[in-house]
Structures are given as structure tokens and as C-alpha cells.
């Protein structure tokens, strides 16, 4: 016959076990869900730190932690009162990011630093791009189109280094991808050589795209196309571009506007907005703000320095003086940069405004080059 004491032990043991198990299960299930989001946020923060390193050092790298979870919904949004943020569907709030970044998430992304050189100011930014093949379809063989292609490719990544696990390739297409580099698509430098040596327009739209192919068509009239269609620049380097799936007209004034569209491409979010639109809007809002402030600082700097360089009369009297024949240029450049600071963040969807901005930036660059030639300024 079993003892009462034994029964007591059994019952007590069951109660205690139940208590322990109940707590463990509840804690684990809450923690697991919570931990998933914590890990995703940690990965995004790690990504942000990696981007910052690439930005400050200029050394390119791979980032592969995105393969652990689904980050395809992530994009960068500008905010009204603060710095831009990386926002994703799974996160309640965004991760602030001060580094200028054009982002297209993928299982693995290549991070490298590019720059916008305005002469008097160089704006560095980072590109985060996944595996892709860029298919160029030039429907005409004019100088503008060929120059534009060359400029675009020069601002896109080079993944020929065997240590880079991400592949970004380039190719032409005429009905079918042409595989112009020994029967396959090209690395960046090889493609640039092809652009230098071959000039022939495509006659047909592109079909049978490779996996992760992105089509970039150059045509005077973008009526029916797939992917991105770029019209040659109409005036002062400013032109229109289009994305399939949206009627919006994108006004481009520099190659980075087009790079933003290429990196974003056609994938739509839950609201039906293409990633290209989001990257383009971010680029124009954030980069323009930086250029506007840089122009304001430089304008004031030119005014300060103008007071300390010799005037025309002094220079003629003492030919060996330093900083000669620069006073008037400093004054004019200060005024031009002041104009730049005022119009840099004007409506980037307005063709006329962008023509004015492009011409003013060009003028500022020319004046700055004059100062460099006369030994009054340094190359940035």
C-alpha cells in the first residue's frame, strides 16, 4: 500500500513541475517573437554601421546578414524634423541613418562609395546593391545617349574583385541579351571598353531577360518599354525618365538621379509605390539639402577670403604676388553659390527649376576651376 507521504510527494512534485513548465513556456514564446524583431533591428543597426565604415573609409565590402530574414520591405525615408530613417514593415519605428545611402535590399548586398563632384564640393554617398545584371537598350546611337551610358556605368559598382560575392554585370540587348564579353555579360571595366569601341543602336525591345536583369532603355520617345526608360537630355543636361508601372515623369539633372532609379527599379511596395520612386525622392530631398547647406557655407567662405586676396591694381603693381586675379572671381562665385543654396532644394519635379539649378551648378564649377588654375583654390 502506498504511503500518504508518497502521495503528497507526487502531488507536490506535479504542482511544482506545472509551475516551472508554465513559466518557461510563456516566457519562451513571448521571448521568441520579441527576439525575432530584436535580431532584425540588430541586423539593421549592423548594416548601418557597415555603411558608415564604407562611407568614411571608401573601402567596399559585402553585407550578407540580410539573408537571415526578409528585409525586402526596407527603404529609406526622409523625415520632416530629423535625419532620414531606414523603415521596414516589421519595425514600429525607423533606424536613423545620417550616411547618404541609395539602398536596394537583397539576400546579399555590395556596399561601395561613390561621389557627386560639383567642383567646389564633393558629396560622398554609399550604394547598397544586390546581385543584378544591367541590360542597356540604346534605341539610338547619338552622342548624348552614348555619353550618358558611359557616365552612368562609371557611377555603378565594379564587382570584378574575386573577394566580392555579389555580382553586378552589364550587357547590351537587341531582342535578346547580346552577351558582348566573350559570350557572357560584362564586368564594369570591360563594358566601358565596349561602349568606347562599339556604337550600334538596338532595334528591338529586350526579351528573355537573365535572372535579376534590369532593363534600361534609352529612347527619344518612351512609349512602351519595360523597366526604366531614359530620354536623352533636352537642355543643360536635364531630361526625363520613366519607370514601367507608374505614370510619373522623373526629371533628372545629374547621373545620380538615374542611378537612384536604376537601384530602386520597379518593385512595388504594399501601397503600389515603386522602389525607384522612393529612392529617387530620398536622393533629391536629402542630397539637395546637403548641397544647399554646402553652397551656403562655401558662399560665405568665398566672401571671407575675398577680403584677403589682392585686387587687380595690386597684382599689376606686384606681378609675383600670390592669389592674383582672383578677387572678382571670388565675389562672383560667392553670388552664384548663394543662388545655388536658394534653388538647390526647389521642386525637383519641375523641369524648368532643374534646368536653372543645373546651369547654376555648372557656372559655379567653371568659376571654381578658374580659381584652381590661378592657384587660389585647391581641388576637393
Amino acid at each position: 500500500m502506498i504511503e500518504v507521504y508518497r502521495i503528497f510527494q507526487l502531488i507536490f512534485g506535479v504542482i511544482v513541475s506545472f509551475f516551472i513548465l508554465y513559466f518557461l513556456i510563456q516566457y519562451t514564446s513571448n521571448y521568441a517573437g520579441f527576439q525575432g524583431n530584436v535580431l532584425k533591428t540588430d541586423i539593421l543597426k549592423s548594416f548601418r554601421d557597415e555603411v558608415s565604415d564604407v562611407y568614411t573609409t571608401g573601402v567596399y565590402t559585402n553585407f550578407t546578414l540580410f539573408s537571415r530574414y526578409d528585409f525586402s520591405s526596407c527603404a529609406i525615408n526622409t523625415t520632416v524634423h530629423g535625419v532620414p530613417e531606414i523603415v521596414c514593415d516589421f519595425a514600429v519605428s525607423g533606424i536613423p541613418i545620417t550616411t547618404p545611402l541609395l539602398l536596394c535590399p537583397g539576400k546579399r548586398v555590395f556596399l561601395w562609395r561613390d561621389s557627386v563632384d560639383l567642383g567646389w564640393y564633393k558629396l560622398f554617398y554609399v550604394q547598397a546593391v544586390p546581385d543584378m545584371t544591367l541590360i542597356f537598350v540604346p534605341m539610338d546611337d547619338s552622342d548624348e545617349v552614348w555619353n550618358l551610358m558611359r557616365t552612368l556605368v562609371s557611377h555603378l559598382p565594379d564587382t570584378s574583385d574575386p573577394r566580392i560575392t555579389v555580382n553586378i554585370k552589364y550587357d547590351f540587348c537587341d531582342g535578346e541579351p547580346l552577351k558582348v564579353c566573350g559570350g557572357s555579360s560584362c564586368e564594369k571595366e570591360d563594358f566601358l571598353k565596349v561602349i568606347e569601341n562599339v556604337r550600334a543602336p538596338s532595334l528591338r525591345k529586350c526579351e528573355h531577360l537573365p535572372q535579376r536583369g534590369r532593363v534600361i532603355t534609352f529612347s527619344k520617345s518612351c512609349e512602351s518599354f519595360e523597366g526604366i526608360c531614359i530620354e536623352p537630355p533636352l537642355m543643360s543636361g536635364v531630361g526625363n525618365a520613366y519607370i514601367s508601372g507608374t505614370r510619373r515623369v522623373f526629371v533628372y539633372k545629374d547621373p545620380i538621379d538615374l542611378i537612384a532609379l536604376i537601384i530602386g527599379y520597379t518593385k512595388k511596395d504594399v501601397f503600389g509605390i515603386t522602389r525607384a520612386e522612393r529612392v529617387f525622392d530620398y536622393k533629391n530631398k536629402f542630397f539637395s539639402e546637403m548641397i544647399s547647406k554646402a553652397a551656403r557655407i562655401s558662399s560665405e567662405r568665398m566672401k571671407l577670403i575675398e577680403n584677403f586676396v589682392p585686387g587687380q591694381d595690386e597684382c599689376e603693381a606686384n606681378p609675383g604676388l600670390k592669389n592674383c586675379y582672383c578677387k572678382d572671381v571670388y565675389r562672383e562665385l560667392s553670388d552664384v553659390l548663394h543662388t545655388v543654396s536658394q534653388i538647390a532644394d526647389s521642386d525637383y519635379n519641375s523641369f524648368q527649376d532643374m534646368v536653372k539649378l543645373s546651369e547654376t551648378l555648372s557656372h559655379a564649377n567653371e568659376l571654381y576651376q578658374v580659381l584652381i588654375e590661378r592657384g587660389c583654390e585647391y581641388e576637393v
Partner: protein
């Protein structure tokens, strides 16, 4: 026999009490560990941000001629034309920056005393912060000369 059973029961209860006590202690320990970790993580994040900001400022075209070489004209111009609120849109909130040559005197720069000055500051407040000091050069545009200086970049512990 009865007393022996009661004694066994008491010992058993005492044992169970200790087991439950350990479980509760474990729960409290884990909770306390998490809270401490969060606090340390926050402190670590502030330090990491300060270092990251330092590296970004060392190449920021608003202030520098080239990496780690600040342009005194740009610094003075930025000081006089750009407000701290505007810099927050680019570099975030809760930070400050000071830059000074190695001279003993401190002469804050403005458009009136440029270039005979040696100190610039941005977004400085009287709050505790995590601060990094880095040796830099300051290019004196008017004299065409490179001076030695120090850059201080800090992130405040409390957001203001």
C-alpha cells in the same frame, strides 16, 4: 513513527521551498541581467555613435579640405551661416563638435576676427556627454599654412 513522518514532511517542504526560492531568484536574476544589459547597451550605443560621428565629420565636405584637414574658412563660414538646428537634419540630434589649434589661447572665430582666431564650436550645451578627441590639421587659407589642432566630438547622454 508519526513524528518521523512529520519530520520528513517538514524537511521535504523546506526543500521545496528552497527549490522555489531558486526559481524565483533565477527569474529575478535574468530580469536584472536584461535591465543591466539594456543600460550598458544604451551607453555602448552612445559611445559607438560618438565614434561614428567623429569619423564622418573627419571627411565632411562642409568643414574639411581633405580627410582630417579642416579648412578654417569653411569652419568660420559654417559657424556664422548654419544654425545647429539645420545641422541636426544632416548629422542627427544630441551631438556637439569643437575644434581648436594647439595654442593655449582660445579665440572663437567669427567673420570679424577671421583669420586671427583659433576656435570653433557647434551645438555645444552644458550636459554630460561621451567625447572623443582626435588630432587634426587646420588649413589656414589666408596664410596658406597647416596648423596642428584637436577635434572634439561628443554625443550627449540625455537627448535635449
Amino acid at each position: 513513527m508519526r513524528f518521523k513522518s512529520q519530520s520528513n514532511l517538514m524537511e521535504y517542504l523546506l526543500l521545496i521551498f528552497f527549490v522555489v526560492f531558486i526559481i524565483v531568484a533565477l527569474i529575478l536574476f535574468i530580469t536584472w541581467w536584461q535591465v543591466t544589459q539594456l543600460g550598458m547597451k544604451k551607453s555602448q550605443e552612445i559611445e559607438d555613435r560618438a565614434l561614428s560621428l567623429t569619423k564622418e565629420i573627419l571627411i565632411n565636405g562642409f568643414f574639411v579640405k581633405e580627410e582630417s584637414v579642416f579648412d578654417d574658412g569653411k569652419l568660420t563660414a559654417a559657424n556664422t551661416t548654419i544654425k545647429c538646428e539645420e545641422l541636426k537634419h544632416i548629422l542627427g540630434e544630441g551631438w556637439f563638435m569643437k575644434i581648436k589649434t594647439l595654442d593655449e589661447s582660445v579665440i572663437p572665430c567669427n567673420e570679424d576676427n577671421y583669420p586671427d582666431c583659433n576656435y570653433w564650436e557647434f551645438c555645444v550645451q552644458d550636459n554630460p556627454a561621451s567625447i572623443y578627441a582626435i588630432p587634426v590639421n587646420i588649413y589656414r587659407r589666408v596664410q596658406d599654412r597647416y596648423d596642428l589642432g584637436v577635434l572634439y566630438v561628443g554625443v550627449y547622454y540625455e537627448k535635449t
